[in-house]
Symmetry: C2
Subunit: 89 residues, 2 copies
Amino acid sequence: MNYTINTLEQIRPILIGFRKTNGLSQKALAEKLGISQQSYQALESAPQKATIERLFKVLSILGIKLQFVEKNKPLENNLSNSELLQDEW
Amino acid sequence: MNYTINTLEQIRPILIGFRKTNGLSQKALAEKLGISQQSYQALESAPQKATIERLFKVLSILGIKLQFVEKNKPLENNLSNSELLQDEW
DNA sequence: TCAAATAACAACTTATAGGTTGTTATTTAT
DNA sequence: ATAAATAACAACCTATAAGTTGTTATTTGA
């Protein structure tokens, strides 16, 4: 399932939801991260403030991949972006 | 086009690539963000260290959506996640 | 060519992320 | 009911993100 992030406020419920579907308490997830429950709680309550590095670790544990998705461009013709690794052709 | 982030090092070339396909210099993008070229350069050279908030702004300008994608689960049966907003059913 | 634009360094300050422990409501099994 | 587990506050410290200006190679266009 895909969860598009339209606003930063959407991250929090997604984290909570996935933590629970993974059967993890804040404390259990915090232990996997090597931090205290309180530290994880701060992260979970305001994930917008976290660094990508930190969120990435959490997402990995929760079995979530990060994806960048190109928004539909208007009629404009873009330059080649072939130097980038792409998922599909 | 989708770009899955498997390692944090993949973010940098994606940002650079999209900035260029958007026809933006570091200075031009920095101006849109309301910061100096040098500040943007620091962000672009180590985006893992940036906060989600900050990256999210950059991605918005570059026309990129952030997506969380559930990795394929093994045979394990997960609890319902219906409280979350989902893209597709 | 050479001037302008671009990319990237360095040194520096301020705001805040990331961590701790202590405490305390609130949930959840027994 | 109550003990254990969970979620969330507060106060605090340290590391570092986020910004600045100054400078300088390197690219690019006229």
